[in-house]
Symmetry: C2
Subunit: 321 residues, 2 copies
């Protein structure tokens, strides 16, 4: 049986420019589910991870607007809420697709915590903007009243809260994920896990404690893939390939490459931090920690990439291809 961890991008749930409504999300999720089930039908058992940017943004915004009347939850709880919401949409669409094709399979979303270290330098240097946009005056008040770190988004002309984005160090629920995907006496389930990068927790006095932070979803997905000892990690995004010299006349698509070549390109600064950077880093981490192959391609190209070599394939240096 072939297996893979597949990190689906934000565009698999909502297309850029589309309004965040349930209808728009369900439409794209249904389309994504068709593509994923095409793959599953070809014999792949998969674990799916996903982002939660727009959805947790709305959860935070509602909480902020209603703050005078309803006590808001902390960020960790909001991330967990978004896992419930998006997990439900994905498992409903996938299980519907299985039903439609007469496949005896079930997709299920697991609420997932991701361990981070209290000593992570990210906690001293919040860098990830989340939630509502504020005026400068409001931003100053938030800094004063709530101790938030605020930053001006020059493009949008508003101020936003910055939260730490620490490194994931362990996936708390990797055992149940592994059990559902590989434990199969009969048929494996499709597991949705690590939504939004997982709910970040630290160990404090020997217990898990939620923290006000967000974990990069691609790094969390890579760690999950390593944790369940998966050999193949797939990042589905909005471009067919990883590009070198992106946007320059010398631009070229990467087709097959190695971990060491990828590290060289990463160190050269080939991958912008807002887009391909975190994905390239997640690929490197996965291969450094025992993974064999990373595929980065467009969501629509998944079957092509895994069956016919489309997209960018990155191999651990000792893996012959």
């Amino acid at each position: 049986m072939k297996t893979a961890v597949i990190a689906i991008g934000g565009n698999a749930i909502l297309r850029p420019g589309d309004r965040l409504t349930q209808e728009n999300q369900m439409k794209h999720v249904a389309e994504t589910a068709r593509g994923l089930v095409d793959l599953i039908q070809r014999g792949f058992d998969i674990v799916i991870t996903h982002g939660n940017g727009p959805q947790v943004g709305d959860i935070l915004l509602r909480a902020e607007i209603a703050r005078g009347e309803v006590t808001p939850n902390a960020l960790d709880v909001c991330v967990a809420e978004s896992q419930g919401q998006i997990g439900y949409m994905l498992q409903k669409a996938l299980s519907s697709e299985f039903l439609d094709r007469g496949m005896n399979k079930i997709a299920v979303a697991l609420v997932t915590q991701v361990k981070v270290s209290e000593d992570d330098p990210a906690f001293a240097n919040p860098s990830k903007p989340i939630g509502k946009y504020y005026t400068e005056e409001e931003a100053r008040r938030m800094e004063h009243e709530r101790g938030w770190v605020m930053s001006l988004d020059k493009r949008r002309g508003g101020w936003r809260r910055l939260v730490p984005s620490p490194e994931p160090t362990a996936i708390v629920e990797s055992t149940p994920v592994r059990r559902l995907v590989f434990g199969g006496e009969d048929q494996a389930e499709v597991v949705i896990a690590c939504g939004g990068g997982g709910v970040p927790v630290v160990l404090k006095g020997g217990r898990y404690v939620g923290v006000e932070a967000v974990v990069d979803k691609d790094l969390a997905a890579a760690l999950l893939a390593n944790s369940i000892r998966e050999r193949l990690f797939v990042i589905a995004t909005d471009v067919d390939h990883v590009f070198v010299d992106y946007g320059k006349p010398s631009q070229r698509a990467l087709e097959k490459t190695t971990l060491s070549e990828m590290k060289r390109l990463y160190d050269e600064g080939q991958f912008p931090s807002g887009t391909m950077g975190p994905k390239a880093l997640a690929a490197i981490r996965f291969l450094e920690n025992g993974g064999e192959e990373v595929v980065i391609t467009a969501t629509e190209k998944l079957v092509d990439a895994l069956e016919a070599g489309a997209g960018t394939h990155i191999y651990r240096d000792d893996i012959s291809r």
Copy 2:
């Protein structure tokens, strides 16, 4: 190995009268987790189900207040959000308790859909009040603008939306629940499922479609217990026993009884619809559908009840005790 499905009551998460804050919830959830882990340490593998009344209430209230600025989600998505939120709190508290006691176990919450029938008569007769309280004028507007069915809550003096509460007919994700609890080559996980009665879905054109309804959490828990072929179903609530002639001079606690006796008492109207009624009905359903024993007792009495016979025990008539 002894196993059980345990339906924990609202008071296991938030005590009546306490404000719905994260601190209050985490305090009670930690206490509940200690009691549950006491039981697990005595050799029980368990599936936990829970309610979501106050939590989904707050989610709906925030959505309503922010409606002008943020598109609200439908009720099914809000229930899924509450599963993420409460599931996270429970699994964090349980996994922390395992860590603290050096137990190699993990608790994990599964987003759970519950199938209901489109033809359920409940859809023609919405009966379950949810969400915000409105004035009469607002209530009339909601009826007109949104087609909601509104009802006056005389005690609180406000109008609320009524939604259908159809019968659960299947637990969509029963296979992964069963696999995690019973599939254990090594140690079983503790599974949290069917939160808030599950996200209600109907089959439409061969696909799962979410509906604006809520499923009774005790009935959903009983059906989950039957679906995974569990023999023992436990309802943890705020009283030690089920009582007959409750509040009358002839009041007596039920200690051991049978399905047929329970049905007789239920038909007599011994169990009020707001409190013990749904639990008694869930117990009856579970035993009629293959279950062997139901225990109803206080959350604090779980170990006593399962090890020393405290609480109310109801047996299928053909089970010797």
